[in-house]
Each structure stands twice: as structure tokens, then as C-alpha cells.
């Protein structure tokens, strides 16, 4: 039983990270129907910028907490600029192009960013400075750390904040309007360009936050870390219903838990026929099953031509 509980904890933390990254995918998709495959790379750049900024500030003698905040701030700003730049340079010129074109551009941008990061930060693994004290808790046989609690709490709070933004502010209303019908929204005086740019900027800021969390959790970073993370988060977004914020959150957490339980129990369930190396496969089995039976996801509305 304590093993089961531990696996749930493992999955919940992993899932919260997926959820935070998935929010970036789902926001952009919801507004302009584009799957921004470069989003995983934005997360990666967020992590690497934090390492550089926080690491050098800690080396310069700044208190860890302060340096961590500075690192987070810097990475959010840089990622926001990056998100804005991506939209302006890579996607805006293709707004009226066939759907496949921006998708391929997104994959291209992902490769560009990966190689750019490799040139700046090198090929080696980088160690993330320990920003949070290492405190271990034990509850009913399950071990967890302060970092894990922090990740779950922050990602929940971020989610709540984002929902408030979308449903309680003017910008949020403009976003929802654009999502429903860009042409009509623009006739009603909504500046479409600004709304789409805002979606990219906010999504990228969330990506930076997720990047910092991944960094503090695993304490390593690498220029290719964003690729798999991005794919999993995309799966989470589809599972929850892409375009739906609450769905992305739920999808992320669910996916994390499915993966943890899958890796933990598949060997026993199949009598050793399938082993724990099928962990990553669960994410994609889930993706296939969802696409086959409920393409709109758990919370997705039937948007017809959109989904």
C-alpha cells in the first residue's frame, strides 16, 4: 500500500509539471488553433537561463532564495520575449497559410532553439543550483520532499491565477472572443495581434516557471530536455481536451499518475512479459486511445473543424 501511495506522489509531482507545460500548448491552441511544438524548447531555455543567472548570483555571494527569485524573474522575462519573438517572426507571417505550414514551422523553430541552446550552453549536462532546502517528509510510508510539495502547490496556484485571468479580466474576455471567432472579435474592436501575442507571452512565462520547477526537482538540465517534456505535455493537453485550460491541468496530472503506476505495476500485471522500460509508451498509448475514441479529450468542447 505504501508503494502505491509513493507511486501516486511520484505521479502527482511529475503530472503537475506536465500540466504547467500543457497550459502553454493549450492556450495557444485555444486561441489560434496552432500547436506550438517549440514550447518544450521555451521550457528548456527557461531552465538554462535560471541556471546561468541564479548560479552566478549564488557564486557572487547572494543569498540562495534571492538568487532563485532573480533567476526565475530573468528566465520569465527572457522566455516572454522569446514567446513574443516566436509569434512575431515565425507564426504571424503564416497566420493565413494552410494549417500544416505553421505546424512544420513550429517543429523547425524547436530544432533551431535546441541548436541555439547547444551553442550557448554546450553539450554537457548542467547542474541546477539547489534553490530549496532539502527537507524530507514521510507520510504513511511515502517519502516526499519540500520541492515536490512546492511544485504541486505552485502549479495549482498558477492554474487558479490563469483561470481568473481568462474569466475575470478584459484581456481574458478578448482572448475568449478571439478563440470563438477571430474575425468577429476583430470587428468588435479586439486587437487580434495583441491578444495572440499575449497568449504566447503568458504561455511562455508559464513555461519558464515550469522550467525552473523541472530544474529544482531533478537538479539537472540539458539542451535536449525540452523535447520529451514537450511531447508529454502535448499529450496531456490532448488528453484533457486541447484548448481547455482545466483540461490541460487535469490531463497533466492524470498522465503523470498513469505513467508512474504503469511503470510500477506493468511487470507484475503482465507476469514479467512487459517491463518498466515501457514507461514512456503509456503517454503515447493514452494519446492514441484518446484520439481514437474521444478526439476532443476529457473536457474538450465539440468544436467541429477546430479539433
Amino acid at each position: 500500500m505504501d508503494i502505491f501511495l509513493q507511486q501516486i506522489v511520484n505521479g502527482l509531482v511529475q503530472g503537475s509539471i506536465y500540466a504547467l507545460v500543457a497550459l502553454g500548448y493549450t492556450m495557444v491552441y485555444g486561441i489560434m488553433g496552432l500547436i506550438n511544438f517549440a514550447h518544450g524548447e521555451v521550457v528548456m531555455i527557461g531552465t538554462l537561463v535560471t541556471i546561468t543567472v541564479a548560479g552566478s548570483l549564488i557564486n557572487a555571494g547572494m543569498p540562495v532564495a534571492l538568487a532563485g527569485m532573480a533567476g526565475l524573474g530573468a528566465s520569465m522575462l527572457i522566455c516572454m520575449a522569446l514567446g513574443w519573438g516566436l509569434e512575431r517572426i515565425a507564426y504571424r507571417p503564416l497566420r493565413n497559410a494552410p494549417r500544416l505550414t505553421p505546424l512544420i514551422t513550429a517543429i523547425g523553430m524547436s530544432i533551431v532553439l535546441q541548436n541555439l541552446a547547444m551553442m550557448i550552453w554546450g553539450r554537457n549536462y548542467l547542474t541546477f543550483p539547489p534553490l530549496l532546502p532539502k527537507v524530507n517528509f514521510e507520510l504513511a510510508g511515502a517519502h516526499f520532499t519540500a520541492i515536490q510539495v512546492f511544485i504541486v502547490v505552485v502549479s495549482g496556484a498558477t492554474m487558479a491565477g490563469l483561470l481568473a485571468l481568462i474569466y475575470r479580466t478584459k484581456l481574458g474576455m478578448a482572448m475568449r472572443a478571439t478563440a470563438q471567432n477571430p474575425a468577429v472579435a476583430s470587428l468588435m474592436g479586439v486587437n487580434i495581434n495583441r491578444v495572440i501575442a499575449a497568449a504566447f507571452v503568458i504561455g511562455s512565462a508559464l513555461g519558464a516557471l515550469a522550467g525552473v520547477m523541472v530544474g529544482t526537482y531533478y537538479e539537472i538540465a540539458h539542451y535536449q530536455m525540452g523535447f520529451m517534456l514537450g511531447l508529454k505535455a502535448f499529450t496531456a493537453a490532448v488528453l484533457g481536451g486541447i484548448g481547455n485550460l482545466a483540461g490541460a491541468m487535469l490531463g497533466g496530472v492524470l498522465l503523470g499518475i498513469i505513467e508512474a503506476l504503469g511503470a510500477g505495476y506493468i511487470g507484475d500485471l503482465t507476469g514479467g512479459f512487459l517491463g518498466s522500460h515501457y514507461q514512456d509508451i503509456f503517454a503515447f498509448i493514452v494519446l492514441i486511445v484518446v484520439l481514437m475514441f474521444k478526439p476532443s479529450g476529457l473536457f474538450g468542447e465539440k468544436t467541429g473543424d477546430r479539433a
Binding site: 540539458h222 535536449q224 514512456d280
Partner: protein, 468 residues
């Protein structure tokens, strides 16, 4: 008609141009008759393959550095083979540690008609690539592919300058048994290397009386191991063996600690790196790993190689670069002995190699494996890899290292003796001074006494004379 004319005109112009060129070239040898006739220079293309992108890019770069250093040194030395000056050219390729990519770049090297191939880094890419090389008759020496299958395929072009996983797994299994643990969990990354090493370890551990209580798997790109570690925790294994590379091993050791697993961590050459300790942090401390061969410091040419390497690249040796360096040297050595750079001609010479390299005295068995490769055990201690012991291997190598140790000890002893002698000498000198002083004084006294005696005698004589 016009077209014909212009063609004729063109060809005439061309003929003029060529003849003009020829005339210009002609005087050259005449101009410098005294200078030695320049020997023809032959470019020998060596392929090198390692992952330059992806999670193992740091190891790939390290390998490439080893090859670059060897090639530069060979070119600086200016080898002559078959009457021609040899210039080695390194064609470095990236296989991203991916077997598919490995085969693609291998084909690329075959098409480029390389004379020989150094690599690949991973067993998983080396094995499929070796088929392409054998078909093309291109000799291949890997400095790091340790899976036994690589040389068991019966390919006459496949060699390696590192002990294979059968040897390493066996030593690790026996070492684990010596650690006083009863139950072990085995994790591997499902690559040819990781799986091969883990399987050999399992065999050896079971033969040594250990019980394998869990077998779990991950992949060579993973960062999260909590799910499998949680499962291992429930089996209460006392030691976790990982067959895989440092990029996963380090975080795995760290996550073990976070989950409150107190088991020891043990791994092979893939985790025996400074990178592992950087990634594992405190969790690495006190655990063990193994590396084929002997530690560089204990080898005759080791420390000097290390110096050259760090000076050239301003980077520490990560793992396999000394082996890759030796692989290049072995190939060049075979070309020299065969007096040919043609693959078919120098290939048999590789099999007869007897080369005193940086990492070992390199000789191959009939399969292309390194003869009697030694395995050394290391411990992660204070952020450094500390040498513990060497197991297996030819007695010669081990004896050589022991002799080197003994020589060092004798040197130390001699130093100590010299020091002691110097101290003793000083004391002796001081004493001698005292002795001399007292002797002088005694002499003075004696002289005085003598003088007195003489005086007395004179007086006595005087008296006697006066008496007469």
C-alpha cells in the same frame, strides 16, 4: 556554322591557355634544383564516430578529442608509409548514440572511402555499423564499445582496445558479493551496452550467491526514475546495480536518496565519470564503479598523456579519450608495419598488434578483443574517483603497475634514507667538530705537558751537568 566556328575558336583559346599554364609550371623544378624532391603526400582518411548531440554528447566530444590529439601528433611526427608522406585526416561524424543514425553515418564513411574507422562510442551503434564496415573491408577499432557481441559476430574488421562486458560484469558481480550484501536490484537502460553489462553482472552476482530481487528498466534519455526506484524500494534490495551511462546514473543515485532508499549504488564504466559525481552530488559519495584498464596515474605514459590532453583542450579527460587515442595509434602502427595505408593490406597487421599504448600493452585475440583486459574498481570519494583495486587482466599489466608502485616506494624510501643520511651527516659533522675541538685542546694540553716535560728534562740535564 557560327556555332561550329565559335567552338573551334574556344578550343583554340583553351589550348593556348593550357599550354600557357604548362609553360608557367615547367620552370618550377628547374628553379630549385638543389632542394630535396618533395615526397608525394598521401591523405589517409580516418572516420571517427561518437554522439556529438544528445545526452551523451559530453562523452562523444571527449572521444573526439582523443582522436584529434592522436591525429595531430601523428601528423606532427610526419609518418612515412610506402615511400609517401602520410597526412591523417579525421572525418568526425555524429551518431547521436542512435543505432539508426549510427548505420547512416557508417554508410557515409564507407562512401567517403575512409581507410579505417575509430569508434563508435556506444555498443548499440557500433554493432550495426560493424556490418557495413566488414562488407566494405574497412578496419574498425572501437575505444569504448564493450558489448561482447561486437567481436562475437566473426567480423575480421572489428577490434576494440577495451575489456568487454563479460570481463567487467564478472568482476562487478564478484565485487558486489564482497560488499557484504545479499540482495541486489538490477536496472539497465535497454541499450546494447547497458543490457549486456547488466546481464553479465546478474550472472556473476548469482554465481557468487547473491539474490537478484528486482530487474527494472529505463532508457538512455530518461530523467525520472522514481517509479522504478519505488518498486525497488519495496523489494528491500541492498544494492542497486545500474547498467547505463552517467547522464541517467547520476540523477538515479540522487533520486534513490530522495526516496529514502539506503541501498548501495554500483555501476560500470558508463557511470565511472566526473559527470556522474556532478549529477549525483552527495548521493554518489562512497559508492563504487568500475573501469576497464588501469588508472592513468598508474600507467607509464598516463600522467604525461593527461597533461598533453588538458593542455590542448583545456578540459578534463571524461572517460574514453585515452582509449580512442590508443585506437588511432594502433591503426597507424598497423599501417606502418604493413607499409601500406590500404585497408586490405594493413588489416592483417592490426591482428598482430603489439603496441605499448597509453592505456595498456595492446594485443588482440583471434576475435579482435583486447587480450587480458584488466578491470579497475573505483570509489567516489570527496568528489573524486579514487582508485581501489585492479582485478583480472594479464599478470604483466598488473605486475607492471605493481612494479611501478614498488619503484615509487623504493624511490620514497631512498628519499627517506637520503634525508636521514643527511641528518645523520649533520650530526656527525657537529660531533666531529666537538671531537676536533677537544682533540685540539687535548693536543694543546699534550704539547704543554710535553713542553713541560722537555723543560723538566732540560732542567734535570742542567742540574746534572752542573753537578758534574
Amino acid at each position: 556554322m557560327h556555332a561550329k566556328l565559335s567552338i573551334v575558336a574556344l578550343s583554340i583559346v583553351a589550348a593556348f591557355a593550357f599550354s600557357a599554364c604548362g609553360q608557367k609550371e615547367e620552370p618550377k623544378p628547374v628553379a630549385a634544383p638543389g632542394a630535396p624532391a618533395a615526397k608525394p603526400e598521401v591523405v589517409v582518411k580516418l572516420g571517427h564516430v561518437a554522439p556529438m548531440t544528445g545526452p551523451q554528447a559530453h562523452l562523444g566530444k571527449d572521444n573526439e578529442n582523443g582522436a584529434v590529439l592522436a591525429v595531430e601528433e601523428l601528423n606532427a611526427k610526419g609518418l612515412e608509409i610506402g615511400g609517401a608522406k602520410i597526412k591523417f585526416q579525421l572525418l568526425a561524424e555524429d551518431d547521436a548514440a542512435d543505432p539508426k543514425q549510427g548505420a547512416i553515418v557508417a554508410q557515409k564513411l564507407v562512401d567517403a572511402k575512409v581507410n579505417g574507422v575509430i569508434g563508435h562510442l556506444n555498443s548499440g551503434t557500433t554493432i550495426p555499423a560493424s556490418k557495413l564496415y566488414v562488407d566494405a573491408g574497412i578496419p574498425q577499432i572501437s575505444g569504448s564499445a564493450t558489448n561482447p557481441k561486437y567481436t562475437q559476430q566473426g567480423f575480421k574488421t572489428a577490434f576494440r582496445v577495451m575489456a568487454n562486458d563479460v570481463q567487467q560484469g564478472k568482476v562487478l558481480g564478484e565485487f558486489a558479493a564482497k560488499q557484504g550484501v545479499k540482495t541486489v536490484a538490477v536496472v539497465d537502460d535497454r541499450t546494447a551496452y547497458g543490457q549486456g553489462l547488466a546481464d553479465e553482472f546478474k550472472k556473476a552476482a548469482e554465481a557468487a550467491g547473491l539474490k537478484v530481487v528486482a530487474t527494472e528498466y529505463t532508457n538512455d534519455k530518461a530523467t525520472d526514475f522514481k517509479a522504478i526506484l519505488t518498486k525497488i524500494k519495496s523489494t528491500k534490495a541492498e544494492l542497486v546495480f545500474y547498467g547505463g551511462m552517467d547522464a541517467q546514473g547520476g540523477p538515479m543515485a540522487k533520486q534513490m536518496k530522495e526516496l529514502g532508499i539506503k541501498a548501495k549504488f554500483l555501476g560500470g564504466d558508463g557511470v565511472c565519470t566526473p559527470e556522474f559525481m556532478k549529477l549525483g552530488g552527495e548521493a554518489a559519495e562512497g559508492n563504487y564503479c568500475s573501469l576497464p584498464g588501469m588508472p592513468l596515474e598508474k600507467l607509464a605514459k598516463g600522467p604525461e598523456f593527461k597533461e598533453r590532453f588538458t593542455k590542448k583542450f583545456n578540459a578534463d579527460i571524461q572517460l574514453y579519450s585515452p582509449y580512442v587515442y590508443d585506437a588511432v595509434m594502433v591503426m597507424a602502427d598497423a599501417m606502418k608495419r604493413a607499409d601500406s595505408v590500404e585497408s586490405a593490406k594493413f588489416l592483417p597487421a592490426i591482428g598482430q598488434t603489439k603496441y605499448d599504448g597509453v592505456t595498456a600493452l595492446i594485443e588482440f585475440d583471434a576475435q579482435g578483443d583486447l587480450k587480458g583486459g584488466a578491470i579497475s574498481i573505483y570509489q567516489y570519494k570527496g568528489g573524486k574517483l579514487e582508485y581501489v583495486e585492479t582485478l583480472g587482466g594479464t599478470p604483466v599489466d598488473v605486475a607492471k603497475a605493481e612494479v611501478k608502485d614498488a619503484v615509487a616506494e623504493v624511490k620514497d624510501a631512498a628519499k627517506a634514507v637520503a634525508g636521514a643520511a643527511a641528518a645523520v651527516g649533520k650530526e656527525v659533522a657537529a660531533e666531529a667538530k666537538d671531537v676536533a675541538k677537544s682533540a685540539t685542546e687535548a693536543g694543546k694540553d699534550a704539547v704543554k705537558a710535553g713542553a713541560e716535560a722537555v723543560k723538566n728534562a732540560a732542567d734535570a740535564t742542567k742540574a746534572a751537568v752542573e753537578k758534574k
